[in-house]
C-alpha cells in the first residue's frame, strides 16, 4: 500500500462527510465501525513497518505551492508510529465508551474530523502542512467543548482556542523565518522538515527560533506557566472531549518538541536543558500539589495530566536515547491511562450528575468492578512497577539522571505526589461508609463501558510487563535523532554535553 498514510489521514474525514447521510439512530455504530477500520489500517501499517529502518517510511510527496517549496509531504518513523497508533486506538475507545445523547450526530462527525487532523499532525513532514493540521485541530475541539460541555463551556472553549492559536501564530512566524533562512542558505525554497534537518544554524538564531517554536508547543503541552487553559477545558469538556484532549491533543506539543525543536535547534536545546527541566519540575511539583487540593475528581486528573506532561518534557530534554525514548513511551502510556481515567470519571458522572469527591464514599461496595478498573488505572497513573506507567516514567527519570541527579531527585516527587493525590482520591471515593444514600443503588459498569475499558486494562498490564514492542522501534529512530543533534550542533560545548549525557551504561 503506497498511500497508506494518506488513507489514514483522509479516511476519517471522508467518513465524516458521508456520516451526514447516516440516520441519527445508527450513527454510533457507524462511527465505531469507521474508527475500528481506521485502527486496523494503522495496525496494518505497523505490521509493514520496518523496525530496523530508523528513517522515514511510507513517504509521500506532492508539491502544493511549487514556487515556495510547500508540499504535501508525509512520512512515519519510530517516533510517530506509536502516537498514530495511540490516536486511532483512543479515538476508537472513546467512541465505544461514548454515552452522550444530545446531538449525537454532530458530535460523532466532529470527532471523526478531529481524528483526521490529529493523525495528520503526526504524519506531516512538511512544516506548513503540519501547521495546517495543527491549527485545524482547534476547530473541532472548540465545538466539542463549547457545545457539549458544562456550565462555563463557552468560556473554557474560547480560552482554549485563543491560547493555543496565539502561541501557534508566533510559531508560524518562526517557521516562515526558518523557511527564509533555508532559502538564503541554499537558494531553494523548501518547507520540508527533511531538508531543514540538513541546515546548520548559528547559535543566536537558534535561540530566537527555539523561543518561537517553544511558545507554540509549550502552550499546547501545556507547560507551567501556560497551563491555565487546561483545567478549564477539562473541567467543562464532555467525557469524550477530555479523553481526546488528554490522550492525544496534549501529545502534539511534546511531539513537536521532539520532531522540530531538538533536531532543528540542537545548540539551543542544549542550552535550554536546565531551564526546561526547571519548568518541568515546577509543573510536576506545583500541579501535583494543586491536584491534591482539588475537590472535583476530574480536576484531580486534569492537574495530574499537567504533572505527568512535566515528566515527559523532562525526559525529552535529557537529550539522550533513554530520556527521549522513555518520554515517547510515557506519551503513549499517559494517553492510555489518562484516557481511561477520564472515561471512568464519565461513568459516575453519567450516573449521578456530579464529580465531587465529597458526594461519594464507599463506592467499592456498590460498584466492585468499577472500583477494580479504577484501581488498576490509578496504579498505572502513579507509576507502579509492572504497569504501563512505570516504564516511561522510569526511563525518563533515568535519562535525566545523567544530566543532573539533583533535579532528577526533585522530579522523582512525581511518584510520591502522584501516589498521595491519587490514593486520597481513591480512599475518599471508594472506601469508608456510603455517605450518600443515593449512591447505594448505583449500577456497576455496563457492557458498553466494559468493552471500552477492558482493552485499556489489558494494555496497561501487557505493556507494563513487556514494553519491548514499543521500545524497540522507538529506540532506533531516537538514536538517529540524537546523532543528528550531535552532528548538527555548532558549539563544541553542546557536542560535549550531548556526548556525555548519552553515555549511560557505557564503561567509564
Amino acid at each position: 500500500m503506497e498511500h497508506i498514510l494518506s488513507i489514514l489521514i483522509f479516511f476519517p474525514a471522508f467518513a465524516a462527510v458521508l456520516g451526514f447521510l447516516v440516520a441519527k439512530n445508527s450513527i454510533r455504530t457507524y462511527a465505531i465501525t469507521v474508527t475500528t477500520i481506521e485502527f486496523i489500517l494503522s495496525c496494518y501499517l505497523w505490521m509493514n513497518f520496518d523496525n530496523t529502518n530508523a528513517g522515514m517510511q511510507f513517504t509521500e510527496f506532492i508539491p502544493l505551492i511549487s514556487q515556495y517549496g510547500i508540499s504535501y509531504n508525509l512520512g512515519i518513523d519510530g517516533i510517530s508510529l506509536f502516537l498514530v497508533l495511540m490516536t486511532t486506538f483512543m479515538t476508537m475507545i472513546s467512541l465505544i465508551g461514548l454515552t452522550e445523547k444530545r446531538d449525537l450526530k454532530h458530535l460523532v462527525i466532529t470527532v471523526l474530523f478531529l481524528e483526521m487532523t490529529m493523525v495528520g499532525v503526526f504524519l506531516a513532514l512538511d512544516v506548513i502542512l503540519f501547521y495546517v493540521f495543527w491549527e485545524l485541530s482547534l476547530v473541532p475541539m472548540l465545538y466539542i467543548v463549547g457545545a457539549w460541555g458544562g456550565k462555563r463551556r463557552i468560556y473554557a472553549a474560547v480560552k482554549f482556542f485563543l491560547y493555543t492559536f496565539t502561541g501557534s501564530l508566533v510559531m508560524l512566524v518562526g517557521m516562515l523565518y526558518l523557511g527564509y533562512v533555508y532559502f538564503q542558505a541554499t537558494g531553494n525554497w523548501s518547507f520540508s522538515l527533511m531538508d531543514w534537518n540538513m541546515l546548520i544554524l548559528p547559535i543566536d538564531m537558534q535561540m530566537w527560533l527555539f523561543a518561537a517554536f517553544f511558545l507554540g508547543f509549550a502552550i499546547k503541552v501545556p507547560m507551567v506557566p501556560f497551563h491555565t487553559w487546561l483545567p478549564y477545558a477539562h473541567g467543562q469538556a464532555p467525557t469524550i472531549g477530555s479523553v481526546i484532549l488528554a490522550a492525544i491533543l496534549l501529545k502534539m506539543g511534546t511531539y513537536g518538541f521532539i520532531r522540530f525543536s531538538l533536531p532543528l535547534f540542537p545548540d539551543a536545546s542544549v542550552s535550554f536543558m536546565i531551564p526546561m527541566a526547571i519548568l518541568a519540575i515546577i509543573a510536576i511539583i506545583y500541579t501535583g500539589m494543586v491536584a491534591y487540593a482539588q475537590e472535583d475528581i476530574k480536576q484531580v486528573i486534569a492537574y495530574s495530566s499537567v504533572s505527568h506532561m512535566g515528566v515527559i518534557i523532562l525526559g525529552i530534554f535529557a537529550l539522550n536515547v533513554e530520556g527521549i525514548g522513555g518520554s515517547i513511551f510515557l506519551m503513549v502510556s499517559h494517553g492510555i491511562v489518562s484516557g481511561a481515567l477520564f472515561i471512568l470519571v464519565g461513568v459516575i458522572y453519567d450516573r449521578t450528575g456530579t464529580k465531587m469527591m465529597n458526594e461519594f464514599g464507599g463506592l467499592a461496595k456498590v460498584m466492585p468492578m468499577y472500583a477494580t478498573v479504577f484501581g488498576i488505572m490509578l496504579m498505572a497513573s502513579v507509576g507502579l512497577p509492572l504497569t504501563i506507567g512505570f516504564v516511561g516514567e522510569f526511563l525518563s527519570l533515568l535519562g535525566f539522571f545523567a544530566v543532573s541527579p539533583l533535579l532528577t531527585g526533585l522530579a522523582g516527587m512525581t511518584i510520591i505526589l502522584g501516589a498521595v493525590y491519587m490514593l486520597v482520591l481513591y480512599k475518599k471515593t471508594f472506601y469508608g461508609p456510603i455517605t450518600n444514600p443515593i449512591n447505594e443503588k448505583l449500577k456497576d459498569l455496563s457492557g458498553r463501558e466494559i468493552s471500552a475499558l477492558i482493552p485499556l486494562v489489558f494494555l496497561v498490564v501487557y505493556l507494563g510487563v513487556h514494553p519491548k514492542p514499543i521500545l524497540e522501534p522507538v529506540d532506533n529512530s531516537v538514536k538517529q535523532l540524537v546523532q543528528v543533534m550531535y552532528l548538527k550542533s555548532v558549539e563544541p560545548t553542546s557536542k560535549a554535553t550531548i556526548a556525555s549525557v548519552n553515555s549511560i551504561g557505557e564503561m567509564k
Binding site: P63, L64, I65, S66, Q67, Y68, H106, I128, Y131, V132, E135, L136, L138, V139, L142, Y143, G146, A147, R153, I154, A157, V158, F161, L162, F165, T166, L169, V170, L172, V173, L176, Y177, G179, Y180, F183
Partner: protein
C-alpha cells in the same frame, strides 16, 4: 494663437480606453432602454450588467505588457490588467446578489445599474493610469456613483451614511488635489513616473514640502482605504448601506485605491526614504491594531465585519510598506482570497436580511444568530467557514494569503512587523469566534421567531456556493493563481 495639435490616431492608442468605454456605453444603453420601455424587471438589468462586465473583461484580458496611450495618461501595465480583472469579477459577483428574494427599493431603478457601471469605469480609470489628474477624476467618478448607490437604499441610516461618506470623501478629494498640487509645484509634472525621476534627480530637495505632499496624498488615499486615523466613517457607512453593497465596498474600491497607493509609494519605498517609511509603518500598525480592538466590542455582525475589513486593509498596506515584489504578489493574492471570503460573509448576511427587525435595534445583531446551527445547519456551517477563513485558520483561503504576506514581510527583514501581524490575527480570532460561538454553541433566545435565509434566492445561493468552493479549495488552485499574479506583477516591474 494656440498651436494646432497634431497627433496621429495610432499614437493616441484609443484601444487602451476600450474597457472603460464598454462599461460607460453599457451604462448609457441601460438608461436608453429605460427611456424606451418602462417597468421592466430588474433581472433584465442585472443580466445586461453582467454581459457588459463580461465584454469588459474580454477587452481587458486582450492586453498584455506595457501599453501607454491617450496622450500618455493611460498606463495599462500588468498590475492594471490584474486589478481590472479582480474589479470586474467581483463586480459581476456583486450584481448577482441583487437578485434577492425580497424586493428592495433601490433595485427598482435602472439607474442603479447604470450608476454601478459608471462606478466600475471610474475604478478602471483609477488603476490604469499614473497621471494624478486622471486618477483623481476616476476616483471622483467612482465615488460619486457610490454615494448615490448607498443613498438609494432609502432608509434613514442609508441617507446618513451616504452624506457622511460624501462629506468625508469630499475632504479626501481635496487632500488628494492639494497633494498633487504640491508635487506639481515641486517637480513640474503630474505623472508619477516623472515625479519619481525628478525627485530622485534632485535628491529629494525641499524635503519638508515633499513630506507635506506625501501626508496629503496619504490622507486622501487613507480615507478611501479607511486607514486609521481616517477610518471613522467606515462602520457607519457599512451599517447604513445594504449588506451586499457593504461587502462590495470592502473589496473593490479598496483594491483600486491600493493600486494607486502602490504606484505612489513605490517612488519612496524603492529608494528607502526613511520618513515616509516611518509614517507608513505607524499607519500600518495602527490600522491593524485599533480596529481590531474596536471590533471586539461590537454588538452587530456587520459593524464587526466593517472593523475587521479595516484591519485587513492594514495588513495589506503592510505589503506596500515592505515593497518587495513578493510583497506585491502577496498584496494581490491576499486581496483576491479576501475578496472571496469577505464577499461570502457579506452575502450570508444579505441572505439573512429580513424586512422584519424582530425587535432588534440593528439588522444583524449577534443575538439574532444564536442557535443558527439548530435551525439551518448548512447556513451556519457556511457562515462559520467564512469566519474561520477570515480568522486565518488553515487550510481555508485567507490563511494562505496571510501566510504569504507574513512570509514576504519576514523575507524583507521586518520581523517585528510580522510579529505584530501575527498577534493581531490572534486578537482578530476572538471576534470571529464570537459569531461562531453564537451560531454553534448558544441556544436560541426565548420567544425568538427569527426566520433565517429569508432573502435567499437561487442566484444568491449559487454565489455563496461559488465562494464556499473557492474558500475551501484554495490549496488546489493557489499554485496556478500565484503564477498568474507573479507574471502580471513582474511584467510591470513591481
Amino acid at each position: 494663437m494656440i498651436e494646432p495639435i497634431s497627433i496621429s490616431l495610432e499614437e493616441l492608442n484609443i484601444p487602451t480606453l476600450l474597457p472603460m468605454m464598454v462599461a460607460i456605453i453599457g451604462a448609457l444603453v441601460i438608461l436608453c432602454i429605460d427611456l424606451a420601455v418602462k417597468n421592466l424587471h430588474k433581472s433584465l438589468y442585472v443580466m445586461l450588467t453582467i454581459l457588459v462586465l463580461i465584454i469588459d473583461l474580454g477587452t481587458v484580458i486582450g492586453y498584455s505588457g506595457m501599453t501607454r496611450g491617450f496622450f500618455d495618461v493611460m498606463l495599462v501595465d500588468g498590475i492594471a490588467v490584474l486589478t481590472q480583472i479582480i474589479i470586474l469579477i467581483s463586480s459581476a459577483l456583486f450584481v448577482l446578489l441583487t437578485l434577492s428574494q425580497q424586493r428592495f427599493h433601490e433595485y427598482k431603478y435602472p439607474e442603479y445599474f447604470a450608476l454601478f457601471l459608471f462606478m466600475v469605469a471610474g475604478f478602471q480609470f483609477m488603476v490604469a493610469s499614473d497621471n494624478l489628474i486622471l486618477i483623481f477624476v476616476g476616483l471622483e467618478t467612482a465615488s460619486l456613483a457610490l454615494y448615490t448607490l448607498i443613498a438609494m437604499h432609502n432608509r434613514d441610516k442609508s441617507t446618513e451614511a451616504a452624506i457622511k461618506y460624501f462629506t468625508m470623501g469630499a475632504l479626501a478629494a481635496a487632500f488628494i488635489a492639494f497633494g498633487s498640487m504640491i508635487f506639481y509645484a515641486l517637480t513640474g509634472s503630474i505623472e508619477l513616473g516623472q515625479i519619481s525621476a525628478s525627485l530622485v534627480a534632485n535628491d529629494f530637495a525641499n524635503y519638508p514640502f515633499i513630506l507635506l505632499g506625501v501626508v496629503f496624498i496619504l490622507g486622501g488615499l487613507g480615507f478611501k482605504l479607511s486607514l486609521v486615523p481616517f477610518h471613522t466613517w467606515a462602520p457607519d457607512v457599512y451599517e447604513g448601506s445594504n449588506s451586499a453593497l457593504a461587502g462590495y465596498m470592502s473589496i473593490v474600491p479598496k483594491i483600486a485605491t491600493f493600486v494607486v497607493a502602490l504606484r505612489f509609494f513605490e517612488i519612496f519605498i524603492s529608494v528607502e526614504n526613511r520618513w515616509v517609511e516611518v509614517i507608513l509603518y505607524i499607519i500600518v500598525v495602527l490600522t491593524m491594531t485599533i480596529p481590531n480592538m474596536a471590533a471586539l466590542v461590537q454588538k452587530d455582525v456587520k459593524r464587526m465585519l466593517a472593523f475587521s475589513s479595516i484591519s485587513h486593509a492594514g495588513f495589506v498596506m503592510g505589503a506596500i510598506l515592505v515593497g518587495t515584489s513578493q510583497a506585491t504578489e502577496g498584496l494581490f493574492l491576499y486581496w483576491i482570497l479576501f475578496a472571496f471570503t469577505n464577499f461570502g460573509a457579506f452575502a450570508m448576511l444579505w441572505i439573512n436580511r429580513s424586512k422584519n427587525s424582530y425587535g432588534y435595534s440593528t439588522d444583524h445583531p449577534f443575538e439574532k444568530f444564536a442557535g443558527f446551527v439548530k435551525i439551518s445547519p448548512v447556513g451556519a456551517v457556511i457562515m462559520g467557514l467564512f469566519m474561520l477563513s477570515l480568522a486565518g485558520i488553515p487550510p481555508f483561503s485567507l490563511f494562505w494569503g496571510k501566510m504569504f504576506l507574513l512570509s514576504a514581510t519576514i523575507n524583507a527583514d521586518y520581523i517585528i512587523l510580522a510579529l505584530i501581524m501575527a498577534l493581531n490575527s490572534a486578537i482578530a480570532a476572538y471576534y470571529y469566534l464570537k459569531l461562531i460561538v453564537y451560531m454553534f454553541l448558544k441556544d436560541a433566545e426565548q420567544n425568538n421567531f427569527v426566520k433565517f435565509m429569508e432573502n435567499s434566492s437561487n442566484s444568491t445561493k449559487t454565489l455563496v456556493g461559488i465562494t464556499v468552493f473557492l474558500t475551501i479549495s484554495t490549496v488546489i488552485y493557489i499554485d496556478p493563481l500565484l503564477e498568474v499574479i507573479s507574471t502580471y506583477v513582474q511584467i510591470s516591474g513591481y
